[in-house]
Symmetry: C2
Subunit: 197 residues, 2 copies
DNA sequence: TAATTTGACATACGGCGCGTATGTCTGATA
DNA sequence: TATCAGACATACGCGCCGTATGTCAAATTA
């Protein structure tokens, strides 16, 4: 039987996003050819421009998907922590680990900001940023964390985690530096506590 | 009188770097045309490829220049601070303020990492990173800061400062959020102290 | 100083990739 | 069943990068 119209369209969108995710991660955004990646998905550039407008639009869709995945994961990890403070630390560690994925680094952390602009302006709000900010707000309300600007705190924490991840990924043996990074992150974060550990 | 050979060459290099800096900051790396920016400098693409190899080489030269300027500035500011701890905070604040410059953001913080890779792999070592790391090492030696990995601490601090700058720049009224960012940064950094403030 | 060489830069060429305009064919609608 | 709409394919033009080749002034040597 013939498929519904919207059905195949959604399939094609998914195929294009998947191919783009692979191509962008593999060759980088600039070097990825639209002809190649659409062919990889069994389609042509016509489908691409019809669905996403232009190359940037495709990147935006890919970033949105990855960002949403990361947000969901961060949310889960935060929810399973013992208390809110540990949730914050766990989210940070999770973010560092997620950022170790080469796909995440290349697409979300490097090409994404360069092509689409600052992550906080993205529709998805920058995944981890959102989760971190909410956690910080809870901690401030409970008097555990100093009354700093939650947005500022979240941005700084995520920024620290992100750079930690880039550092680890660029290092010779990631296994040994990962714990150092997480320890340093914990130290840093503890600066927000009302009373020191 | 006829100019020396090396002299004019150095002049041309400077003119190209200056034009590139302007073009990259204005249009972004990808959208900047080599023909246009070389014409702006009164030269052609021939000079460019002879001096810098390719477009990436030109960006690297521009980044190196800006990075060196930033390092020198950070060094100066750190040196004029009362003590080492205040030097660290001052360097962080200085980094945030420098990163508010649109040219720095676009070229050093966005396109630079996307095109050239992680800043810590750059020949210039990532300006502020170097200065921050040295300051952290001094503070650890004096027992003021906990014995964390200096490299990790420097990366986290610089990452936090960088993201603070991106946040401020994207905000509606930078003037009001700048102090919030600096306050949050001080809190964060104090997490590294042996005894809390 | 005159001839020769070097090399910094200009010019010319080929190819690729993006974006748009136009065409086509299938699934929806009446 | 006939018409329409829209998702996707095809065709075209333009701009830009990188390289190969040419040129001319400055440096070198005798």
């Amino acid at each position: 039987m013939a498929k519904r119209r919207a059905e195949t369209m959604e399939e094609n969108r998914s195929k294009l996003i998947a191919a783009a995710r692979k191509a962008f991660a593999d060759k980088g955004y600039a070097a990825a050819s639209m002809d190649d990646l659409t062919a990889e998905a069994g389609l042509t550039r016509g489908a691409l421009y019809h669905n996403f407008g232009d190359k940037r639009g495709l990147l935006a869709a890919v970033v949105h998907q990855m960002d949403s995945d990361m947000a969901a994961r961060a949310q889960m990890i935060g929810a399973t922590a013992g208390n809110d403070w540990q949730a914050l630390l766990a989210e940070g560690a999770a973010y560092i680990e997620m950022a170790l994925d080469p796909e995440v680094q290349r697409i979300v952390l490097l090409d994404g900001p360069a092509v689409l602009g600052d992550p906080s302006q993205w529709p998805s709000q920058g995944s981890c940023l959102q989760a971190t900010r909410q956690t910080v707000e809870r901690l401030i309300a409970k008097g555990i964390v100093r009354p700093v600007d939650p947005e500022a705190a979240a941005r700084l924490l995520c920024g620290a985690a992100l750079n930690a991840a880039l550092w680890i990924a660029a290092s010779d043996n990631p296994k040994t530096v990962l714990p150092k990074a997480i320890e340093a992150f914990s130290c840093l974060a503890s600066g927000f506590l009302v009373k020191a550990v």
